[in-house]
């Protein structure tokens, strides 16, 4: 079985995002990691191939520096990778999906494609749907349990309020992974060393006939979410405190 996993190179969620100008951030000192949700996809792909044989191919559209993310995916057990290089800090989902599709068609269509449920930097929640549609494949996103039965996949997704949907779809298909699917492994030192020797095929976005300037969504402004400056502390006995809190919430804030 051939499995492709789409892995995005994103700033660590604990990193501070320092703005640089109106539409960019200073990424020089920021630690980048694989998009956390994509790691569930890598883990699932690797464990399927460990059982059934085959290969896991990582596909990343991103800056030169994304090599570090690709190597970490390889240390988890992926066999090889394709890296499509971009220049800009942000690439819209339409163009990203187009690049992912082009790469997979050229490399030979996989039996299964994993993505994350969404990326934690742009929080776009759509690339996987565009990829699936353009390849004519079924997709289920936010999958927390997956069972494969021959050419059929059974996926479970949470839909809020404690409800879960169980969906059936045929292979090949696209699965957007989320927490619950598995526990991504921590690569051991020998795996990290081995990963350094694995093949990464590199190409430029322009070689796929895609131009970053054709984006249908462009950033007009980026701003910090205002931080609160510190709480107004409510003093007194417990009774005084809750009385005052209820008054504030009702009369001043009008939220209850």
């Amino acid at each position: 079985m051939k499995i492709c996993v789409c892995v995005k190179h994103v700033p660590d969620t604990a990193a501070t995002i320092k703005l640089a100008g109106d539409t960019a951030f200073d990424d020089a000192d920021v630690k980048f990691i694989s998009n956390p949700y994509d790691e569930f996809g890598i883990e699932e792909a690797v464990s399927i191939v460990e059982k059934e044989g085959g290969e896991v191919v990582i596909v990343t559209i991103g800056k030169e520096a994304a090599t570090s993310t690709i190597r970490s995916a390889m240390a988890m057990g992926a066999h090889r990778a394709i890296h499509v290089k971009t220049d800009g800090q942000f690439l819209d989902s339409t163009l990203t999906a187009r690049a992912l599709k082009a790469v997979m068609e050229e490399d030979g269509l996989p039996d299964l494609i994993f993505t994350g449920k969404g990326s934690v930097d742009t929080e776009s929640f759509q690339t996987q749907y565009r990829l699936a549609k353009s390849l004519g494949l079924p997709i289920v996103n936010e999958v927390s349990t997956l069972t494969l039965e021959g050419q059929k996949a059974i996926a479970q997704r949470e839909i809020g309020g404690g409800e879960k949907q169980v969906l059936e779809l045929g292979l090949p298909c696209v699965i957007g992974a989320t927490k619950g699917l598995n526990e991504p492994r921590y690569p051991k030192f020998p795996d990290i060393m081995k990963a350094k020797k694995k093949e990464i095929k590199e190409m430029a976005l322009s070689e796929l006939g895609i131009n970053e300037a054709d984006a249908k969504v462009t950033m007009e402004k980026m701003e910090a979410v205002p931080e609160r400056s510190g709480a107004k502390m409510i003093e007194g006995s417990v009774d005084d405190q809750v009385t005052e809190l209820v008054r504030i919430l009702k009369e001043e804030e009008k939220v209850i």
Binding site: A14, T16, L19, F25, D92, S93, T94, V120, T122, E123, S124, F125, Q126, Y129, R130, P138, I139, V140, N141, E142, Q156, R157, E158, I159, G160, G161, G162, E163, Q165, V166, L167, E168, L169, G170, G180, K216, V217, T218, M219, E220, K221, M222, E223, A224, V225, E227, R228, G230, A231, K232, M233, I234, V238, Q241, V242, T243, V246, L249, V255, I256
Partner: protein, 310 residues
């Protein structure tokens, strides 16, 4: 005044508050309120009161509810039928999924989980980097497709005609994905991501059964109950209740954090809440530096007293 479609979500034949907010986001446009496979009867008046010029019941055969692709095709057909250049909905789990399918079918841009939308300018504002920044995005296309984060637009009544129409979408089932089962939890709980008020318990809750204290408070507030990761990891609450970077992103009008220290990963999931209240026994707890109102005290004293007062 352009024709603008809004996908309406209902629960037990009542329009969700979040959908009314989405209609308000399109105030000033000619609103087509779309109901998927549902009769307008029970919700007609409410939709008219909040600005629906037209209320469209969209049908497409018997399998609509079991097939997300068919639902998306039906939405696309309805939008075309009424010449709408904008489609907005709620960024709920079903809304996000459906709109991404619509975006892929129409091959138009989508901005998911917006905190503000400007229909006339075709711009939308949304969170980036787990709530650390807001990006204002320009949509370079004739069609505007966005989901709006629950509770980010306060519903405002704006009476309109509320003409009821039935639309039978002539769409074929792509036959790709089928919902074979919906598993419900014991008793339908309020969805965290859509709740207007959330009461969250952190590690300080100490035992799963102590969540009943928070539930009593939440019941009085019409709130949902959340948990920190420390509480989930300790086995006090299921992961479905977790708020934060690896849990749910929520944006209620009021967030009450009980015995939560205020880690960045927790804030990543709730910092765009309108009002944040923290109850913590430690006066130096980091959360007090990042919230609106603070009470220093033992949650096992303060929460029951608060419930009593509500």
């Amino acid at each position: 005044m352009a024709n603008t479609a809004i996908l309406i979500e209902t629960e037990n034949s009542v329009v969700k508050e979040t959908s009314l907010g989405v209609m308000t986001a399109a105030a000033g446009e000619t609103i087509y309120a779309l109901l998927l496979d549902e009769d307008a009867g029970a919700v007609k008046e409410k939709l008219a009161e909040y600005g629906a010029a037209n209320i469209v019941t969209v049908k497409a055969g018997d399998d609509l509810s079991k097939n997300p692709d068919l639902q998306a095709e039906a939405l696309v057909a309805a939008v075309k039928e009424y010449g709408c250049q904008t489609l907005l909905g709620t960024a709920s789990s079903t809304g996000k999924d459906l709109f991404a399918r619509v975006a892929a079918i129409k091959d138009v841009p989508l901005v998911s989980d917006c905190v503000a939308v400007n229909v006339a300018d075709k711009t939308a504002k949304k969170s980036h980097f787990s709530g650390k920044t807001f990006a204002t995005l320009k949509i370079n296309d004739d069609f505007l497709l966005c989901t709006v984060r629950p509770n980010s637009v306060e519903p405002v009544a704006a009476a309109a005609a509320g003409e009821v129409i039935e639309f039978n979408a002539d769409v074929a089932d792509p036959g790709l994905v089928k919902i074979v089962e919906v598993k419900k939890d014991t008793g339908k709980k309020l969805d965290l991501t859509e709740a207007p008020v959330i009461v969250t318990g952190g590690r300080a809750i100490k035992a799963a059964e102590n969540y009943s204290m928070l539930e009593a408070c939440a019941d009085k507030l019409g709130a949902a109950v959340g948990a920190s990761r420390a509480a989930v990891d300790a086995g006090y609450a299921p992961h479905t209740m977790q708020v934060g970077q690896t849990g749910k992103t929520v944006s209620p009008k009021l967030y009450i954090a009980c015995g939560v220290s205020g880690a960045v990963q927790h804030f990543a999931g709730m910092k765009t809440s309108k009002v944040i209240v923290a109850i913590n026994e430690d006066k130096d707890a980091p959360i007090f530096a990042k919230c609106d109102y603070g009470i220093i005290g033992d949650i096992f004293d303060v929460v029951p007293a608060l419930t009593e007062k509500l």
